[in-house]
């Protein structure tokens, strides 16, 4: 964790990448059923659910972070339960950061998948059912592969958005090296202490990294869409 490039420690960068990757995986797993339900439900509660999912887009990260801090803190509803279960607190830990990031990036995962599911032809699914596929089978063998671009979009946006988060992390995670000191916090730190050189190097690294990740995913996306 103490590999360095120039005068900059790579640890925050690696931590950010790790956080974004874990968050993306978790969000695809929990976002898929939410997106599927939103795309298929005739329920009159759908707008309410949609509004809740979209809240993190509108709320200032500090508001979100504040509530998460209360909820995840050792005396909060989730936090106290976690302390009982594991003996350690959720706040100011990597696990706590993952939970906060998932809430923060949820709409960016759900919306691309939802719109991909919504553009599926219902009759194609009906054909799959009449061809002997159960609803779950048809979902995995037809709906998912047909919506692959929605999944790629969800992954790109979740990853990028988590990489770029700052406010929520600051509120929930603090600044513990190797545990919660992600790259955006490290850069803020460097600027605070007037270490502009280090801030420059780290920012440039993040800039290049973000660009390459996005470029890579868009290229993959293009490949898929041409098949």
């Amino acid at each position: 964790m103490d590999a360095t490039v120039g005068m900059v420690s790579l640890a925050p960068l690696l931590l950010s990448a790790q956080l974004a990757a874990v968050t993306t995986v978790v969000l695809i797993v929990i976002g898929t059923p939410i997106a599927w339900w939103l795309s298929q439900t005739p329920s009159r509660w759908k707008p309410v659910a949609q509004a809740i999912v979209a809240m993190p887009i509108v709320l200032p990260p500090t508001v979100l972070g504040f509530y998460l801090l209360i909820l995840l803190g050792p005396h909060g509803a989730i936090g106290s339960w976690w302390v009982e279960l594991t003996g350690s607190a959720l706040t100011f830990s990597f696990t706590g950061l993952v939970i906060a990031s998932c809430v923060y990036s949820l709409p960016f995962a759900v919306q691309p998948m939802q719109s991909a599911f919504e553009s599926l032809s219902r009759q194609t699914l009906e054909f799959a059912w009449t061809q002997g596929a159960s609803k779950l089978d048809a979902f995995f063998s037809v709906a998912v592969p047909m919506s692959i671009r929605g999944f790629i979009g969800a992954a790109v946006l979740s990853f990028a958005h988590t990489l770029g988060e700052f406010g929520v992390v600051l509120m929930v995670g603090g600044n513990i090296p190797g545990e919660t000191r992600v790259v955006s916090i490290a850069i803020y730190d460097h600027v605070e202490t007037l270490a502009y050189g280090a801030a420059h190097q780290m920012s440039l690294l993040l800039l290049g990294f973000a660009f390459l990740v996005l470029l890579g995913m868009f290229v993959i996306n293009k490949r898929w869409s041409m098949r």
Binding site: F127, Q131, P145
Partner: protein, 350 residues
């Protein structure tokens, strides 16, 4: 469906479905033969597709069958072919086969029968609608269903493509034992393909019976309008190359049809539209009409303000003639009268 698992052994399939949607009410309780093709004929909005969807389990209506769609073993060919775009033709066909509990149709035979040999490695995106529909039909066959539902499978094709696909459907009819319900609003398609006919109007079955019997009825408004006509099974006997005419034999005599038809065929279906038949009390002489058949009047029924339909018996076949009410009165046509039917045109359905 009572129980599609057993329909192959039973001689009938029971259809019992109820569904209410807004002003529309579907209420069906009817039995159809468990073999051959049953035509479901009706105007648009009469509930044809809704009934099919109920049978397949795709509608939440009241049905005797509570099993989920995928356990019903009912194949569904949609009007627009619904293939899986991410799979090759081969994989599309195998999709149902892999999920079937038993294999009743040989995959190679189905692929050959529907002429798909060259398409297997293609993706559905590169197929014409007609090709895609053939793939869909093969995929449905190889799912080994107990009943196949076809919802106007030709409706999204132009006339030329229809003509291309119809012979494939003929082969299914001739070579497969799996029963089929074929939805159509084209009496031509129905008389070519079907053995049994269900008439649906306003969500209710208004007539059900063997095709020839149904076509010969005069009391069904749906079949006594412009659609009125009869279907006759005939055997091609002889081809006259001098005049390019094929002679067909049937129970009531002979019919000449322009063109050359395969004289090795056991029998073909001839369709004679009621408007192409006129009547004469004495044998017409010096006429250009080629086909003149002695017949007995079976029934006369008004079919509109100016026209009447006459059902004739010729041999064991029945023939409809559309005449004016005025002629019916003038000739005083009644049951048992001997007449001569002049047949102006005959279409060979297959």
């Amino acid at each position: 469906m009572t129980n599609s698992e057993h329909t192959a052994a039973d001689s009938v399939i029971s259809l019992k479905h109820e569904l209410r949607r807004g002003d529309f009410e579907l209420k069906v309780d009817v039995q159809i033969p468990a073999k051959g093709i049953t035509g479901l004929f009706g105007e648009s909005g009469s509930g044809k597709t809704t009934l099919l969807r109920c049978i397949a389990g795709l509608e939440p209506g009241l049905s005797a069958d509570s099993r989920p769609v995928h356990k019903r073993r009912i194949g569904y060919v949609f009007q627009e072919p619904q293939l899986f775009p991410h799979l090759t033709v081969q994989k599309n066909i195998e999709f149902g086969t892999r999920r079937a509990s038993k294999q009743t149709v040989n995959p190679r035979r189905a692929i050959e029968m529907l002429g798909l040999g060259d398409l297997l490695d293609r993706k559905p995106g590169g197929l014409s609608v007609g090709e895609a529909q053939r793939v869909a039909i093969a995929a449905v066959l190889l799912r080994s269903p107990a009943l196949i539902l076809m919802d106007e499978p030709l409706a999204s094709l132009d006339q030329r493509r229809k003509e291309e696909l119809l012979p494939y459907l003929d082969r299914l009819h001739d070579e497969l034992s799996v029963p089929m319900i074929y939805v159509s609003h084209s009496i031509d398609e129905v008389s070519r393909l079907c053995d049994h006919l269900l008439l649906i109007d306003g969500g209710k079955i208004v007539g059900s019976g063997e095709l020839h019997e149904m076509l010969a009825r005069l009391d069904l408004p749906m079949l006594s309008g412009p659609n009125a006509g009869s279907v006759i099974e005939a055997t091609p006997a002889h081809y006259d190359s001098d005049y390019d005419l094929t002679q067909f034999g049937f129970s009531g005599g002979e019919l000449f049809v322009p063109g050359q038809y395969d004289t090795n065929a056991d029998f073909v279906r001839l369709r004679i539209s009621a408007s192409d038949v006129s009547l004469c009390l004495t044998r017409p002489e010096k006429t250009t009409i080629l086909n003149i058949l002695p017949a007995k009047v079976d029934e006369v029924e008004d079919a509109g303000p100016s026209s009447a339909l006459v059902r004739l018996v010729i041999g064991s076949d029945k023939l409809l003639a559309r005449i004016t009410r005025r002629s019916a009165t003038r000739l005083d046509l009644k049951k048992g009268d001997s007449v001569f039917a002049q047949v102006k045109s005959v279409t060979v359905k297959r």
